[in-house]
Symmetry: C3
Subunit: 139 residues, 3 copies
């Protein structure tokens, strides 16, 4: 049994989904591990992770639209406003999605479904550099 670990940085340009399946797939390939488990972890609390459809870009647009509606800027009961009007909604959207995702590996590849991609979901309005840690264990 072996393991490997690697960090990457992704540059975002405003709220929305940023696919980075290729980075995770390359990490799996580089590890040489054929069967195992990859865990992807987001080191922030105002962006998150999703496994979602990578076929029609409208799905990503609608996901962004939904979270902008369900946790909008300007909720008048919010107390934490010092970091800007988009900060607390970003924390909430992060809580509603995920900070870590585990994906099984088989035949040296991510066992994602046909239409699945791995996304960083940026919830802040301004550009950010985001750190993602990937860990793989297997043989």
């Amino acid at each position: 049994m072996r393991q490997d670990q690697h960090s990457i940085e992704l540059q975002t340009r405003g709220a929305g989904l940023y696919e980075f399946t290729d980075h995770v797939a390359a990490f799996v390939a580089d590890s040489g591990i054929e069967t195992g488990l990859v865990t992807v972890f987001c080191r922030h609390t105002s962006c998150s992770l999703l496994v979602q459809e990578n076929a029609d870009p409208d799905v990503q647009r609608d996901l962004k639209g939904y979270f902008a509606r369900i946790a909008p800027e300007g909720m008048d009961w919010i107390v934490h406003t010092t970091e800007g009007p988009d900060d607390m909604p970003a924390h909430i959207r992060t809580a509603l999605t995920q900070s870590s995702i585990g994906v099984p590996v088989g035949h040296g590849e991510l066992l994602l479904g046909t239409w699945q991609g791995i996304y960083l979901f940026e919830h802040r309005a301004r550009p950010h550099r985001r750190q993602i840690v990937m860990h793989i264990i297997g043989e």
Copy 2:
């Protein structure tokens, strides 16, 4: 340290929760692993996974009811409508729940709480065959 991996298919019959704890427990037993970690992964973006109460079936009914209300069919701002009115709400409900869940194993059994079961949460209206990948590592 050892690992094992297995895929199963579950048949759904419309939106709702389908418990498959028994499948995961059987996989753990077959592996012979006494202590470790099981990861369950859903290979789709319009159904998802939940650990939820398996005592009162009304809990499952209310969970289905809640997600039908919080991400209903017919939201008029949705762009992705080509796969049917239930498709984009299904992607949203998937984003609000989980695609992968890790459960520790001890004494050869899933360390679930007394009332916990592992569920596939189907979000589409029509019947589907759904693929779940299970991975276990431990000794």
Copy 3:
């Protein structure tokens, strides 16, 4: 490759976020594992887990406020009411957050971001004792 596993109990005093990062960090340190993966699992269906900001306590207050609004007590269509008015909202809030979280370990420490803490999110109104299982694998 080695692994370790440990259960803890946390006492809650009503709905809200309870940080237990220190417990997980101590578990990692005690294991002696330098590089690997920790998985934290919540053995209940009316409380859940979150990785969230541990800098400004108002973030935790607003998260509590948000989930009280998005899944409030008193929704009139709820069927499962036998365990009290806060029980079904608690199941829903659990479904909207997470029951298990994986965090990579490096240099013998949790690879959390600067502002990240690991929280138990209690959704019930009365005090409860909550069981959390921690599993680590690595070397």
